[in-house]
């Protein structure tokens, strides 16, 4: 079969000593970058770009790719153990950290590692089998379709909220408002910038995520007198067989969601994690546990994250369009090497593409080894007393924020969000829906206005375009289903039955307010 022939060709390139070395190097750097709070693959790749001048193109590509998808493996770790997320591991802060608080850190880390492996494997299969034709899929999505997709994403708000749903909605809208800060794309007018130069391009996602989650959590830990470490007892890495079985369905669902969303320009790991979480919440056997520290909450996100990172290479390699900032850097690496990425890159440079696919498989195995058995070594860092540890964590958060734009003011912004995050935590307000609103809101607005511009003000474009119509239909079906369930539950409770699940959601019972 053609694919096997191509894969053999790819492995021929990937299994040279040099490429193996660069693959290992990239994966290791990527994992470390993911583990460390704050620093992300984007900054690391742009720092290491000059290194690639002197090494052959395929080795450079393999190394940079290793950093990118390696970082997705590692970023769950900092989210699970310290509640400090990267852009792609926000959801892991919810369930992963809850598992740490319950003393199940080892299980959470094992789940994240194995799910990332599953996600990576599925994505590689997708890449190998479908890459040439999948590039075209990205072109089918117009602004109206993206708008509908973002609307579908807002349904996830109730899913990621732990605690009062009304508060979650409010946080989501605050996130949307925060996303408005910056310059309007269509008119060039500055919004909410108060004349400050550093706000002209808006607030960076890294600042909000680090501030609301990480810094707030550190402040809270310092506030409480008890020693808080991820080691509530020993770390048990190996799960029981039933727990292991639970990982698979969730990870597979996450892989599929991640593979699909990774192809869409503007999609990628950040959105894929929310999608996987939402799907698990609707479909999983253990959905009542999601939010309080369940395996599914971690597995879905880790798999989706990893799968999306790998399939995001597809638009670049098959039609020459970089779908996010990291892919733009890869494209720059190509151009610097004298290769012009464009359509048919797979046909014109098969050694690059198939070598990359083969090395992704090698990297996947390598990362599984680093992340599961060897994670104890990373975790021994936490044996350091917290009073010594947290300045280092804060230091890395500052470096991470600074590395985005090399701008000092960004650190002040992160500090401001740290303060805001602490206030939110004290008031039992959940930051996860704020992140969702912050990510989806601007994309929704931009695509909606562009769709209106292109349709000359006609709303019918949302129903005449097939993808948009389908997505809006799905939203309608979900809405009606939820309504029917609620009415039926109310009917049952009126008949004297137990309080139904849907009504339980509206009762305020968040753990934070109980603790305070």
């Amino acid at each position: 079969m053609d694919i096997l022939h191509n894969l053999a060709f790819g492995f021929e390139h990937a299994l040279t000593l040099q490429n193996l070395f660069y693959c290992a190097l990239g994966c290791t750097i990527g994992t470390m970058v993911g583990l460390l709070p704050g620093l992300g693959p984007l900054a690391t790749i742009s720092l290491l770009l000059p290194l690639t001048y002197s090494i052959p193109t395929s080795s450079a590509l393999i190394m940079l790719a290793g950093i990118y998808y390696g970082a997705q493996y590692g970023d769950s770790v900092s989210a699970i153990t310290m509640k400090i997320p990267h852009a792609a591991s926000i959801v892991a802060c919810i369930d992963g950290y809850a598992m740490t608080l319950k003393g199940q850190t080892g299980l959470a880390l094992f789940t994240a590692g194995v799910s990332s492996f599953i996600g990576g494997t599925v994505a590689i299969v997708v890449l190998a089998a479908l890459a040439p034709s999948l590039g075209e899929v990205a072109l089918l999505f117009g602004p109206a379709d993206y708008c509908a997709l973002m609307l579908l994403g807002f349904i996830c708000v109730s899913v990621v909220t732990t605690g009062s749903v009304i508060n979650g909605l409010a946080m989501c809208l605050i996130g949307v408002l925060l996303g408005q800060i910056g310059t309007d794309l269509e008119t060039g007018t500055p919004r909410f910038t108060f004349g400050a130069q550093f706000l002209v391009d808006g607030v960076s996602l890294v600042s909000v995520a680090l501030g609301c989650f990480g810094i707030a959590e550190i402040t809270k830990n310092l506030d409480e007198k008890s020693e808080r470490t991820p080691f509530n007892g020993k770390i048990h890495l190996i799960p029981t067989w039933p727990e292991f079985k639970r990982i698979w369905p969730s990870a597979l669902r996450g892989s599929v969601a991640g593979s699909i969303l990774g192809i869409l320009p503007g999609g990628g790991p950040t959105i894929a994690q929310f999608a996987a979480y939402a799907i698990d919440k609707k479909v999983s056997k253990y959905r009542h546990e999601i939010g309080t520290g369940s395996i599914e909450g971690v597995a879905g996100q880790a798999a989706a994250d990893e799968a999306a990172a790998r399939t995001s290479f597809i638009p670049l390699m098959s039609i020459g369009i970089p779908e996010n900032a990291v892919m733009a850097l890869m494209m720059a690496a190509f151009i610097i090497k004298g290769i012009q990425p464009g359509p048919n890159m797979i046909a014109k440079h098969p050694d690059l593409f198939w070598g990359l696919v083969a090395s992704m498989w090698i990297g996947n195995c390598f990362l599984l080894i680093i992340n599961v058995p060897l994670v104890r070594i990373w975790l021994s860092v936490f044996k350091i007393p917290y009073s010594v540890l947290f300045p280092s964590i804060l230091f890395f958060c500052c470096i991470g924020t600074f590395s985005v734009n090399n701008n000092l003011e960004d650190i002040y912004v992160t500090a401001a969000f740290g303060f805001l995050g602490y206030v939110m935590m004290r008031l039992a307000l959940d930051p996860a829906p704020l992140m969702l609103g912050f990510i989806l809101g601007p994309m929704l607005e931009e695509n909606f206005r562009r769709a209106m511009l292109l349709s000359r003000g006609s709303f019918t474009v949302f129903v005449t375009r097939p993808i948009s119509a389908t997505l809006l239909g799905v939203i309608l079906v979900l809405f009606i289903a939820q309504l029917v369930l609620m009415l039926r539950a109310r009917g049952a409770s009126r008949a004297g039955g137990p309080v139904a699940a849907s009504e339980r959601d509206t009762i305020v019972a968040s753990p934070e307010s109980a603790r305070n």
Binding site: P50, L139, G142, G320, A332, L453, R456
Partner: protein, 330 residues
């Protein structure tokens, strides 16, 4: 005794002169570069300015020695990074990669600029230029020449859509000028970079873009886009069959996107001249020319005065284009 003292005096004064030489010399740039030099690129990594600046940084390292580190400082359409250059120490260790926008366009777009390109910066040399090309997606627009496009567009009720990487960018200004000169009805659709414009055009939503060539090279080579005209005064070497705007029937339409390296205005002239000379030599290197050509640009070298002259010459043109487009960024 007297001899010793005299010898001692001579040795001491010789030693003093030798010791004083480095400080005198570095004031005039003889020992430069001693530390890493920051090459500030005011755009995100991966873009065409970033890639081309990195290529030049490599070559400058070979010629002048020292370490050249590219630092990306994106923000405010490129103004943040150049502002950093303008306000940094004028010791020859901070260089910026500025574009035509910083010299000749931004002052008409913004109410207030954080720096003045005439007062706060000294240009070192022109570095490259790239053309804007009028491209249409082959699948959706049947026109093969500008007159055909005009005829086709006139036949469409409501006119056509043209894309750009944002309000106030040269593709926006070119698109607006084109519509005004040809009397067509056109609506501007801003995107975030060519990576968003290209899929929209391939999907049929947007029909025209008069955008920077480097972003479209791959797609043009693959036949997805057709180039109707270039906006340079003469035909572009890698597109010999494509007419200029004037040849295609739209006179007085010249708009190249050029770039220049700049330094804070008080930087010692000796250092500026050394870098300028190196850049001129690099631009004449056929290997460099070939590299830039694949990327869709052409390397240039010039004296600092030539940069000032060029920027002043182009200001009235861009001012008119900004007024026609109605673009305003605060």
């Amino acid at each position: 005794m007297k001899e010793l003292t005299r010898r001692g005096l001579i040795v001491a004064s010789a030693g003093g002169v030798v010791a004083g030489l480095p400080s005198v010399a570095s004031g005039q740039g003889h020992n430069w570069p001693e530390r890493p030099i920051r090459l500030i690129v005011p755009y995100p990594p991966g873009g065409s300015t970033d890639v081309l600046a990195r290529l030049l940084g490599e070559r400058l390292k070979d010629r002048l020695g020292g370490t050249w580190v590219v630092e990306n400082r994106p923000g405010a359409g490129g103004n943040t990074g150049i502002d950093v250059v303008a306000k940094s120490a004028p010791d020859g260790y901070t260089i910026g990669s500025a574009t035509v926008g910083h010299f000749s366009i931004s002052q008409y777009l913004y109410n207030r600029m954080p720096f003045d390109s005439d007062q706060d910066l000294i240009p070192i040399s022109l570095t490259w230029e790239l053309p804007n090309v009028a491209v249409v997606p082959t699948q959706h627009v049947p026109a093969r020449t500008i007159p055909e496009f005009i005829a086709w567009a006139k036949g469409r009720s409501g006119g056509y859509f043209y894309g750009s990487p944002g309000v106030g960018t040269s593709p926006h200004l070119c698109g607006a000028l084109f519509a005004t000169r040809t009397g067509l009805t056109a609506t501007h659709v801003p995107f975030r970079g060519a990576a968003q414009t290209i899929p929209a055009m391939l999907g049929g939503d947007v029909q025209l873009a008069i955008d920077n060539l480097p972003s479209y090279v791959g797609a043009i080579a693959a036949g997805q886009f057709r180039v109707l005209a270039v906006t340079t005064p003469e035909r572009w070497p890698t597109l010999p069959d494509v007419p200029t705007m004037a040849e295609a029937g739209v006179p007085d339409f010249v708009a190249t996107s050029w770039a220049a390296f700049v330094a804070p205005s008080a930087t010692p002239r000796a250092i500026v001249d050394r870098i300028s000379e190196a850049l001129r030599a690099i631009a004449a290197d056929p290997a460099v020319q070939q590299r830039f050509e694949t990327a869709g640009a052409r390397p240039l070298g010039s004296t600092p005065e030539e940069v000032r002259e060029k920027s002043r010459r182009e200001r009235p043109i861009w001012k008119e284009m900004v007024q026609i487009s109605g673009a305003r960024l605060d």
